[in-house]
Symmetry: C2
Subunit: 241 residues, 2 copies
Amino acid sequence: MNEELNIGPHISRQFDAELDEIRSRVLKMGSLVETQLIKTLDALREDDGSGIKGVSKLDRKVNKLEVQIDEECTQILAMRQPAAGDLRMIIATSKSVRDLERAGDEAERVANMVKQALTNEMQRKLYKGLLGLGELVAQLLKSTLDAYARMDIPGALQNMRLDQDIDEEYSRLVIRQVELMKKNPDNVADSLDVLWAARSMERIGDHCINICENIIYLVSGDDVRHAKFKDIEEQYAGGGY
Amino acid sequence: MNEELNIGPHISRQFDAELDEIRSRVLKMGSLVETQLIKTLDALREDDGSGIKGVSKLDRKVNKLEVQIDEECTQILAMRQPAAGDLRMIIATSKSVRDLERAGDEAERVANMVKQALTNEMQRKLYKGLLGLGELVAQLLKSTLDAYARMDIPGALQNMRLDQDIDEEYSRLVIRQVELMKKNPDNVADSLDVLWAARSMERIGDHCINICENIIYLVSGDDVRHAKFKDIEEQYAGGGY
C-alpha cells in the first residue's frame, strides 16, 4: 500500500468539496479542543475561573462535531466508494475525530478540576504545578492540527519528539507530588487530584500522537502504530514517502 | 439510518466468508486481551507471578491482529464497496479493534505492575485490593465479546449497567487508598501505583463500553455515544430496533 496520495482534482467537483468540508470540520473540532485547554490554562495562570465556564459547552460542540463528521465519512464511503488515497483519508479522519473527542473529554475533566481548585488557596498553589505540562500539551495539540491541515509527515515526527518531552515533564510532576504527599499526608487527596489532572493532560498528548500516526498512514499508507519511534524516524528521515 | 442489518447471504459467498473471517479475528483478539487480564488476576490471587510472563507476548499478538484486521477492513471497503449493514459492520469493527488494542495495552500495564508488586510483601498486600475491581472488569470484557459475537443489544445494555458497578467499585478503591496514604505517608508511592493499576482496569471497562456502543450502532444504525445511559435504556427497552 504505497500508492500516491490522491490530492489532484476528482472527476466530481462535488466530491472534492465534500472532502474539503470534512477536513475543515476536523480542524474546527480540533480548535475547539484547543480552546478548552487554553481557557483552562489561562484561568490557572491568572487565578480567575470565570473563563472556564464555557468549557463544557465547547465540549458538547466537540461531541456533536464528532457524530456529524463520522456520519459524513460513512456517507462518503457508501455513496462515493472512494479508492486508495481518499479511502485512507476517510479512515484516518474517522479515527482522528475519535481521538479529538477523547482529548476534548480529558480537557473538560481538567477544566472542571481547575475550576474547583481555584476556589481554595491551598489547591490553587498545587495546581499551578500543572502549568508547564499543560503548555507543552497545548503546543502539541496546536502543531498536531497544523500537521493535519498540511498533511505533513515531518511535522508529525516533530510532534512525536515533543511528546517525549511531555512524558518527561509528566514524570517529574509525579515525583514532585509524591514528595509533597509524603511531607503533608493531610493533603494526599489534593495532590492526588493534581496527578489525575496531569494524567488527563498527558492523555491529550497521547491522542495527539495517535492523530500524528494517522497522518503518516494517510500520506504514506504505512501503519506505524506499533513501530518504535526510532524506527519511524529513520524510515522517514530521507523524505522518501 | 435505520435500515435492517444485512445478515442474509450475499451474492458473493466469498464476501460472506471475508466478513466471517473478520468477526472471528476480532473475537480471537478479544479473547487474547481477556487472557492477559485473567492471567494477571490469577497471579495476584495465588501470589505467583510465573503465569504473567507470557502477557507481553500476548499483547504483541493483539497488536498484530489490530493491524491485520484493520487492513482487511480497508481492503473490503476498497474492493467490495459494501452498503448499509455491511458498511456499518466494517466501521464498527475497525473502531472496536482499536478499543480492544488499547484495552490490551492497559492489561499489559497492569500485568507488569502486578509482576513487580508480587516480589514485595507490602506491595502484594496492597495490590490484593484490586481483585474485586479486576474480576468485575474481566466479567465485563467477557460479556462484551459475547455481545459482539451475537450482535446483541440487550447484552450491550446489560454491560453498560455492569460498568456502573465498576465505576462504584473504583471509587471505593480510591477512597480506601487515600485513607491508607494518609495513615502511612511512607507508602504513598506504593498506594499510588495501586491507583494507577486500578485506573488502567477502569479504562479497560471504558473500552468495553465503547465496543458496546459500536454494537448498538452496528445493529440499529443509531449513534449513542453521547447519549445518557437512561435515555439509551428507555429507547431500546421495548426491543424496537
